[in-house]
């Protein structure tokens, strides 16, 4: 079994969706989550506050400096994510297709590196 991060890419229009559309999306995403939990593949999921709530910590000067706002300036940014545990990429993509249609956002699917066995 492998774990995959499924990152939800939000764009400029994401936060200006009408309330009716938002509630449809929330219901659809709840459905996807419930199905993943039933299938035993759900590890974690969460939505993030908007970009303006970000704080950056930068160690490059030698002391970790704290500043307001995101480090990467881009129109698209991670708005939330899932972590699922499935057999292979096909299973991860099957979930991700449903998830993308539910949240109506572009998703990026990325494998976690395999952890060495615990206690080894």
């Amino acid at each position: 079994m492998s774990q995959y991060l499924i990152a939800v890419l939000n764009g400029p229009d994401t936060r200006s969706r009408p309330a009716a559309e938002m509630s449809e999306i929330i219901a659809a995403v709840d459905g996807v989550n419930a199905k993943a939990m039933d299938a035993g593949i759900f590890v974690f999921a969460g939505g993030l506050h908007e970009q303006s709530a970000t704080t950056t910590v930068d160690p490059r000067s030698g002391k970790a400096e704290i500043s307001d706002g995101p480090y990467l300036e881009s129109k698209e940014y991670i708005g939330g994510f899932w972590i699922i545990e499935v057999a292979d990429l096909d299973a991860a993509l099957e979930f991700s297709r449903e998830a993308a249609l539910a949240c109506r956002e572009v998703l990026e699917v990325r494998p976690f590196m395999q952890e060495p066995p615990r206690g080894a």
Binding site: Y4, D88, L89, D90, A92, L93, V109, R110, P111
Partner: protein
């Protein structure tokens, strides 16, 4: 292994070289027939395309070294056994792969022999018939999570058994670029967990389409290449060979049959497609007597079978039917343009692309005349496509509008990449009146 060296007869020099020629011909034949099965089986056993590719290559090198005294009774089995041992050896060497080594040993203990003297490996596998391995391999190489260029290079290397050098020559890329593309693709397959299996029913049609798209791309790369050479028949031949394999493995897939028929009837026209001066010869001017009758007959038989099957044809089946109409006519004047028009309408209905519309307009020119066809063509947004300009130029030429035709040929020449086609366009342009 020394068993194969024993009993080499003392022979004269010329006998030895004849034997060597015989051996290398046999090895080339075995490479074509056994390579996909070797890589496919090893990839499943060891869950790594990298190990599979390396072990299969090493098995053939070992065969060159050890078969001078004659071929073993079961060469395919010998290659499989040798490759399997090489793969296990690599895992033993490679300390970073302890888990895979353990898995391989489990498989080994279940009956895969590592005895080089035994020609018949025990191939009892729990998951399905052995031939499915090659299908799994194709689907893995053409997985949608890989870029199209990576799919092409991987398919040619893993299924076709072409060397990196051969692929680089075929695709007009540097060897380093092709090698890197393959290495990256293998790394992604491993890291992302692209599975090694036949897709499930729901995804199957879409995934078969991806395999067919790769094969058609390879075929066309050989048939209408850019760059120095007019034709690169080895790539087209390879695409046909893999398509035959796909049809054998998935006989009920109409689109795979359609693609094979399309390739066969296109390939059949190769001998008359380039003149002795290295110029492209358009369909109307081709010497139909030089077409390969056997390939055409095979293509026609597949098309007839597909029509008898009665299921709704996809794009490759329709293109095959279009090619059947063209190759059925013994002379361009015998061409059944009405039938072609119907087929292009059907093709456009399922694939409404401007390129299909362009080809349909060329048929329209024969049925309704160049004025109607030119109006159709001018509506298409294909200004970057050389064939759009070439089609316009031809219609303008037929309408006697020489100045417009000359300009259109110029546009086509600037955009064309195939040297034979450029020569043809230049001659047509030079032959314009006034």
């Amino acid at each position: 292994m020394s068993g194969y060296d024993a009993g080499v007869p003392v022979s004269s020099h010329s006998e030895i070289s004849a034997e060597r020629r015989e051996l290398s011909a046999r090895l080339a034949e075995l490479h074509r027939s056994e390579w996909p099965q070797l890589v496919a089986t090893l990839a499943r056993r060891f869950r790594s395309l990298d190990i599979a590719e390396e072990a299969a290559s090493e098995a053939f090198l070992a065969a060159i070294e050890h078969w001078h005294g004659g071929l073993p009774p079961n060469p395919g089995g010998w290659l499989m056994t040798t490759a399997n041992r090489r793969a296990i050896d690599r895992l033993r060497r490679d300390s970073g792969r302890e888990q895979k080594y353990a898995a391989a040993l489990v498989i080994g203990s279940r009956g895969v022999t590592t005895d080089m003297h035994q020609d018949e490996p025990n191939d009892a596998e729990p998951d399905g018939p052995v031939s499915d391995d090659r299908l799994r391999l194709m689907f893995t190489c053409c997985h949608p999570a890989l870029a199209r260029e990576a799919q092409v290079a991987l398919t040619l290397r893993m299924v076709g058994g072409l060397t990196v050098e051969q692929i680089a020559r075929g695709l007009l890329k540097s060897e380093a670029a092709v090698a890197q593309r393959i290495t990256r693709a293998k790394a992604k397959i491993e890291a992302a967990g692209i599975p090694y299996r036949i897709p499930e029913e729901g995804d199957l049609a879409e995934r078969v389409d991806a395999v067919l798209a790769v094969l058609y791309l390879v075929f066309n790369e050989g048939y209408l290449p850019g760059g120095e050479r007019e034709l690169r028949p080895e790539l087209s031949g390879e695409a046909i060979r893999i398509s035959r394999l796909l049809c054998e493995l998935m006989p009920a897939t109409g689109e795979a049959q359609g693609l094979l028929a399309l390739m066969l009837m296109t390939e059949a026209r190769r001998p008359s497609r380039i003149s002795s001066d290295g110029e492209l010869v358009v369909l109307a001017d081709q010497d139909r007597g030089a077409w390969n009758g056997a390939l055409i007959a095979e293509g026609h038989a597949i098309v007839l079978e597909l029509i008898a099957g009665g299921s709704a044809p996809g794009r490759y089946q329709l293109q095959a039917a279009i090619n059947a109409v063209h190759t059925y006519a013994r002379d361009i004047r015998d061409t059944d343009w009405s039938q072609l028009s119907i087929l292009y309408d059907q093709l456009y209905a399922i694939n409404p692309s401007p390129v299909v519309a362009l080809n349909r307009a060329i048929v329209t020119a024969e049925l309704d005349g160049p004025v109607v066809a030119l109006a159709d063509i001018d509506r298409l947004e294909l200004e970057d496509y050389h064939a759009w300009h070439a089609a316009r130029a031809d219609l303008l030429r037929r309408l006697g509008r020489s100045a417009d035709a000359r300009a259109a040929y110029e546009q086509a020449i600037v955009r064309a990449v195939n040297p034979a086609e450029i020569r043809f366009l230049k001659r047509r342009q030079a032959g314009l009146a006034g």
